[in-house]
């Protein structure tokens, strides 16, 4: 079973991203379960969403404490919480940022993508907020291959018809192309 933790802010679409990854995995014959962490959700507040993917139906509902993958939708979250807390050794971290985070150190792989820039270019902005969820899924596909990029694009275009669906799938594809791995300095393996 693969466990993915999304860290985002209310309005960025982290919950939708978790749902989409489950829908896409299901298309590939895998089972999944996605859920948000709960509170009085409001725009801008930090929030977690979780997804589990497996070859068999999943029926575990506890929160995710030891994720295989952490996806960070907003670089400011790096200053607010320890994003790699509980990350499984060798796990992957994907961050939406325009700058290589200098002081990150963990046993695993780091991938970055400037999803905010991609969304601004494509005018994927709602009420002033770049909605980076579909872009970050492209990065997730590139980094981990948990789900194929083509399946993601198909899933996105099924969820949103017409132009908005096209824009989102373009964001996903562009992020897939632009995501790259950053070699961690001073890595201490645990």
């Amino acid at each position: 079973m693969i466990e993915i933790k999304f860290l985002g802010r209310g309005g960025q679409g982290a919950v939708t991203a978790a749902n989409l990854i489950v829908q896409a995995s299901f298309k590939e014959g895998k089972f999944g379960l996605a859920y948000p962490s709960f509170g009085a959700e409001r725009r801008g507040a930090i929030l977690n969403a979780y997804a589990r993917i497996d070859q068999i139906p999943i029926n575990v509902h506890q929160q995710i404490y030891e994720p295989d993958v952490v996806v960070v939708l907003d670089k400011k979250i790096l200053q607010m919480t320890n994003i790699v807390e509980g990350l499984k050794p060798g796990g992957s971290v994907i961050i939406n940022t325009n700058r290589i985070p200098e002081d990150l150190n963990f046993d695993g792989k780091l991938f970055i993508v400037d999803a905010t820039r991609i969304c601004l270019d494509l005018n994927l902005v709602i009420s002033g907020w770049p909605v980076v969820n579909t872009a970050i899924l492209g990065a997730l596909s590139k980094a981990t291959n948990i789900v194929n990029i083509n399946t993601l694009v198909k899933t996105i275009e099924e969820n949103w018809k017409g132009e908005i669906g096209k824009k989102n799938s373009q964001a996903c594809l562009r992020a897939y192309e632009e995501t790259y791995e950053v070699v961690l300095k001073n890595l201490v393996r645990g």
């Binding site: 978790a18 749902n19 489950v22 829908q23 299901f26 014959g29 089972f31 999944g32 379960l33 996605a34 859920y35 948000p36 709960f38 509170g39 009085a40 139906p57 999943i58 029926n59 575990v60 509902h61 506890q62 929160q63 404490y65």
Partner: protein, 411 residues
Amino acid sequence: MSIIEEKKGVSNVKVVTANEAVALAVKCAKVDVVGAYPISPQTSIMEYLTKYIETENLSMEIVRVESEHSAMAVAMGAASVGARAFTATASQGLLYMAEMVYWVGGSRLPVVMAITSRAMGAPWILGNEHTDVLLPREWGWMVLFPEHNQEVFDTIIQAYRIADKTLIPVVVGLDGFILSHTTMPISIPDQSVIDSFIPKDVPKPYALNTSNPFTHGNAVHSNVYLEFRYDIFRTIEESEDLVDQVDKEWEKLTGRSYGGVIEEYLLDDAEVAIVVIGASSGDAKQAAKNVREKYGIKAGVIRLRSIRPFPVKRLSQIASKLKAIGVFDRNMSPGLGGMIATEVKFALYDLKDKPIVQSYIGGLGGKDVRIVDFEKIFTELKEIVDGRIGVQRVRWVGLDLAAVDSYFEEV
């Protein structure tokens, strides 16, 4: 047919939240009238229903009202004339609705209500807890509690079958947020299957009719009230078999069943077992597997699907083979124990070879309940069986006692 088999040929599999599973089931049950008032975490059920009405041209009528009290009044009025009725609520909404909920129970109207469980204030709280879902078990309603999204869909359909047959309204509880807002794949049977399982042209001797006028719920004398109540008692008591039977008939049509009143998990050789309801049952099952592998503890899970009828018969059969039962309650009866633990003890008291019963309370207000919590319960039960620790009135799960002390020092 499981979802896996179904995926090969049939396309009516959807990836949905449990709230959408409720709404899809209500649509497939061809409900006539819905009383609607929003409250988290139930609101999206009504949002999905209005979307279906808008986009699929359903003949269902959603009546938007000014309170939960009126939402149940709408469902009651509709059911009184023989229409199929539904509503949903949670938490404070159920409390505000309570008067009408009790009235529908007494009126013997086959209403089905979903309750997305949520703790109640004060203090103000959104998180999951089962106390609200359990309250109508004293109000003349049956209470069923499914584990996952597929079972939520299936149980709403089963609930109409049970309600139509017994003229007892049915609550279907589902875990707020950890199920209501969780996305999982579900399979939706052909409409013809559902139509044949819950036909709408069943006898409705209670249906008001202007050409043959009579009234419901008028004033009675005390010489008949006890008899009315007795008939509710007897009907619910006797429906333990019915809940089993309806689940078996559903299996014939869809390939899916859940054990009727109780789902039994790894109980064949079990010494200790956890009684649990709802979504956390999946975590309890994983814990049972883990402690079998790690410590060789013969652990199993008794998942109550039905709280009313309380499965006294089946629980007694299962319990007589066990040495200790831990009842995990995501609710509490203040000063006494967990509500379900109290009922388990009542049900087993007359059993000759009864197991030890330990009440556990945790997860109130949405505190996460983890697989390791259930593993700890299993190891404690084993220690109780071995005489290394004693039974306490309640053992608390995830309770931060230091925090309790510090809060009250400040006060």
